[in-house]
């Protein structure tokens, strides 16, 4: 049945949801040893469902209608629960997107990495621990002999993702299923984890299914790419071929949406002189924990300056832990700074929202990263938008209806969406509703905190275009916070780079992107994935050089 060397063979697989939708629709694919097949597509394209089917797993509410999934010749859907348990970890392993959610915070890392091998009786405990330590060393984790004794919360996100990979490789599986293994990581960490994962797959001669929405990431690691749309594979071929000569419009759109730094093409937003008619923050110091001697125990912002004028977008770039979200919360009045001043259109602004006037609160609006949690799932869009209109402008009845229709049109959503609930619309649409709610207040300053990070590439692009339109048409002052330089390169007038709570570089976008001065900014620009084979190796080399420079840098008094 299975051709020799084929680890995974999927034949005509159709998976339907309870509602009758074909989530995976007649898909056939094969993966051989040493081969990395990337499944790429927008959210909802069925790529994760297909990848999980390779583990013999269907999420609740899904059922297999037709087709087979053969792993090393055996049909996984014909197996008993016991047989599946023996299979998982041993022949097929899973590397999840969120390592933080996959690890039990109360168990030591090594114990979790070797748990499945011990349960299977595949390795003796001492052999399993040796194997785990080898893997930690191989994955370049610091102190491989002892780091496994730590708990998950005692290591960084990038390190935890490497433990996840170690867990996957512990029993030397034939197939590794990776579901967006680097999407939750910072760009500079992503380079490192991708390189390790790529080497690990090659050195173990493992087959891999690699699920991602980011073509630039996939191009670095996959031998073949399958592009999925609406449950079908619309295009499949060797990586270089897909990138060089895409056949489908959808694939072309994916390639066009790929993060790249336009500075190299010379198409940058003209830089404007710093304005003060928007929001201005001076010498902001903020942190968490009990204050001692006027300084909080943990400092997230150290002497940060930021100014944004009407009609311009200022991007704030930084990795997780750089203090960028704290900055957003300080500006929005949700977090009290230890010191520093805020000014709105030149006038002093109180630090906390409860000390601000209703008009001041109206003039500054915050849009946050997680569109899901920003909208009350029990409120219809009419109630969500209507509440803001009533609260700030006293609008009700027909006037409010008309305004809500305007707002939805402004964010390119149909007016009939008013009766929907957040659970009935997609992630990108939710983010549009978040923007519409902010606009309902008729703000002057819009603070966007990572609003595109949770969205797939093409949807993120459309949201960014929307924000750009709001700046140009409504003259909003926009603070656009992101961890990704490529996201903001097209739209930001100026860029401020944050690291460990300090501004390491600030200036017009063109200057910062094309001629970064600070080694950290250089590392950031070098870490933006490019859509060419071989970029990963270049980036990793650059990373090694710059990391050494950063360690010696004077601004490195505080360890990460």
């Amino acid at each position: 049945m299975t051709a020799p060397g084929k680890v995974l063979a999927v034949e005509d697989l159709t998976i339907v949801s309870n509602a009758g939708t074909r989530v995976v629709d007649g898909v056939s694919l094969r993966v051989a040893r040493g081969e990395v097949l990337a499944l790429i597509g927008a959210s909802g394209s069925g790529k994760t469902t297909l990848a999980l089917a390779a583990l013999g797993h269907l999420r609740p509410g899904l059922a297999r209608q037709a087709g087979t999934v053969r792993l090393d010749g055996a049909d996984v859907f014909a197996m008993t629960a016991q047989q599946l348990n023996d299979l998982r970890g041993r022949k097929v392993a899973y590397v999840a997107q969120s390592a933080a959610a996959a690890f039990n915070p109360r168990l030591r890392l090594t114990d979790q990495v070797i748990e499945s091998a011990l349960l299977h009786g595949a390795q003796s405990e001492s052999a399993a621990r040796l194997r785990a330590t080898d893997l930690f060393r191989y994955l370049a984790l610091p102190n491989p002999e002892t780091i496994g004794r730590r708990f998950p919360y005692q290591v960084s996100g990038g390190q935890l993702q490497r433990f996840m990979i170690a867990m996957g490789l512990q029993e030397e599986p034939l197939l590794l299923v990776c579901d967006e293994p680097t999407s939750a990581l910072d760009v500079t960490t992503q380079v490192e984890v991708m390189r390790l994962l790529k080497n690990a797959i090659a050195d173990n001669d493992t087959a891999a299914l690699f699920v991602s929405h980011d073509l630039a990431v996939v191009a670095q690691i996959a031998t073949r790419i399958a592009v999925m749309r609406a449950g079908r594979i619309v295009e499949c071929g060797p990586t270089a071929e897909i990138i060089a000569a895409p056949r489908e419009d959808y694939t072309r759109a994916l390639i066009a949406a790929c993060g790249h730094l336009p500075g190299r093409d010379g198409a940058l937003v003209p830089a404007a002189a710093p304005h003060t008619d928007g929001l201005e923050a001076r010498s902001i110091v903020a942190g968490y924990g009990r204050a001692e001697g006027g300084q909080p125990a943990v400092l997230s912002l150290r002497d940060v300056d930021l100014a944004v004028g009407r009609g311009e977008i200022v991007a704030v770039i930084g990795e997780s832990g750089s203090g960028k979200s704290t900055l957003a919360r300080v500006l929005a009045g949700l977090h009290a700074p230890a010191s520093g001043t805020l000014r709105l259109a030149g006038a002093p602004l109180a630090a906390l929202d409860r000390d601000r006037s209703k008009a001041e609160r109206r003039r500054i609006q915050l849009v946050v990263q997680m569109a899901d949690t920003a909208l009350n799932p029990r409120h219809s869009l009419r109630r969500i938008l209507g509440r803001t209109l009533k609260f700030f402008h006293g609008l009700t009845g027909a006037q409010a209806e008309a305004r809500m229709a305007d707002l939805l049109a402004r964010v390119s959503l149909p007016a009939e969406y008013l009766d929907r609930y957040p659970t009935q619309i997609s992630g990108g649409e939710k983010q549009r509703v978040n923007l519409a709610r902010a606009l309902a207040a008729e703000p002057e300053v819009l603070i966007c905190d990572e609003i595109t990070s949770a969205l797939d590439t093409i949807v993120a692009q459309s949201i960014i275009a929307l924000v750009k339109g709001l700046r140009d048409e409504l003259g909003l002052a926009v603070i656009f916070i992101s961890h990704d330089l490529a996201t903001v390169a097209d739209i930001a007038n100026r860029v401020t780079v944050l690291r460990h709570g300090r501004v390491v570089e600030a200036g017009p976008t063109a200057a910062v992107l094309t001629a970064p001065q600070n080694p950290y900014t250089k590392l950031l620009t070098a870490s933006v994935p490019e859509l060419r084979v071989g970029w990963l190796e270049d980036a990793a080399a650059t990373r090694d050089d710059l990391s050494a420079a950063l360690r010696q840098g004077p601004s490195e008094a505080v360890p990460a």
Binding site: L55, R88, A96, L366, V368, A374, N376, R378, A441
Partner: protein, 276 residues
């Protein structure tokens, strides 16, 4: 990882239907007792105490020769209404304070939480005995005492549910908009906690029935000649050898309603779990 891959089995609806049927039956009996009873529940229908069942007196008589069935039906209304009123009151107090403590945090939360710790550390039945002994066993006192001891548990649950919500972005956004307490509590938070709190309501009501029945059983509950299940079980205990039904029927009713409420909680919980 293994937990993520485990399959969820949908809970059978039969439990839900069965528990609702049992509860509906008792509610119906309670309503009916206002209009029609086989006998007057306070009337002496027989000169024999603990007479065994006979024509027209299907469950026999109690220790004073009154009709057990009529008293059981009359007691259904009293027992269920008192338990319902106590649970409702417990939830009104507990939910409002719990959500408020979650929302406000700080000193208010600390003070309320410590008070609740103290209440929960006391054995409920002892609190009930002391208060009822001091204030007298009237229906309002019983309802308020039961509400008071159970409001503490309700507070814990609603505070925990609320604390999960407070950190969510939409709450932060509503607060940064400057929304008042009323909207935050009842506009934003309440819609999310209604379902788990309804589940708790059913469970809590079964506790309240047992609590009040226990008080009645030691003679500090509903006072004679009024009938309630716990009191009936106590009064008729000595007749177990001649007319066992007089004590077993009210005890069985307590057990049935408690079990039905617990099954309902299970079923609702299962529904909520699979719905997400």
């Amino acid at each position: 990882m293994t937990a993520m891959l485990s399959r969820q089995r949908p809970r059978p609806r039969a439990t839900l239907v069965l528990s609702i049927a049992v509860l509906a039956f008792f509610v119906l009996i309670g309503c009916m007792s206002l209009i029609w009873l086989p006998q007057d529940p306070t009337d002496f229908v027989s000169t024999d105490p603990f007479a065994p069942p006979s024509a027209g007196i299907w469950l026999g008589t109690d220790q004073l020769g009154r009709d057990v069935l009529s008293r059981l039906m009359d007691g259904t209304r009293i027992t269920l209404l008192m338990a319902f009123a106590a649970t409702l009151l417990a939830h009104l107090i507990g939910d409002t304070l719990g959500l408020l403590a979650a929302l406000r945090g700080g000193l208010l939360d600390a003070v309320l939480s410590r008070i609740v710790d103290v209440i929960l550390s006391l054995p409920k039945i002892i609190v009930g005995l002391v208060v009822v002994a001091a204030l007298g066993a009237s229906i309002p006192v019983l309802v308020v005492v039961a509400a008071f001891v159970y409001a503490a548990g309700v507070f814990r649950i609603s505070r925990a549910l609320g604390a999960d919500l407070v950190r969510l972005d939409y709450m932060q956004i509503a607060r940064s908009r400057g929304e008042g307490l009323g909207w935050l509590l009842f506009g934003e938070m309440l819609p999310h906690v209604v379902r788990p709190l309804a589940t708790d309501f059913a469970l809590r009501m079964s506790f309240a029935i047992l609590f009040m029945s226990s008080l009645s059983f030691v003679g500090l509950g509903v006072q004679p000649p009024m009938a309630d299940w716990g009191g009936m079980a106590k009064e008729n205990l000595e007749g177990l050898s001649t007319n066992p039904l007089a004590a077993i029927a009210p005890a069985a009713a307590i057990a049935l309603v408690s079990i039905a409420l617990n099954l309902l909680v299970d079923a609702l919980d299962g529904e909520a779990g699979s719905g997400r």
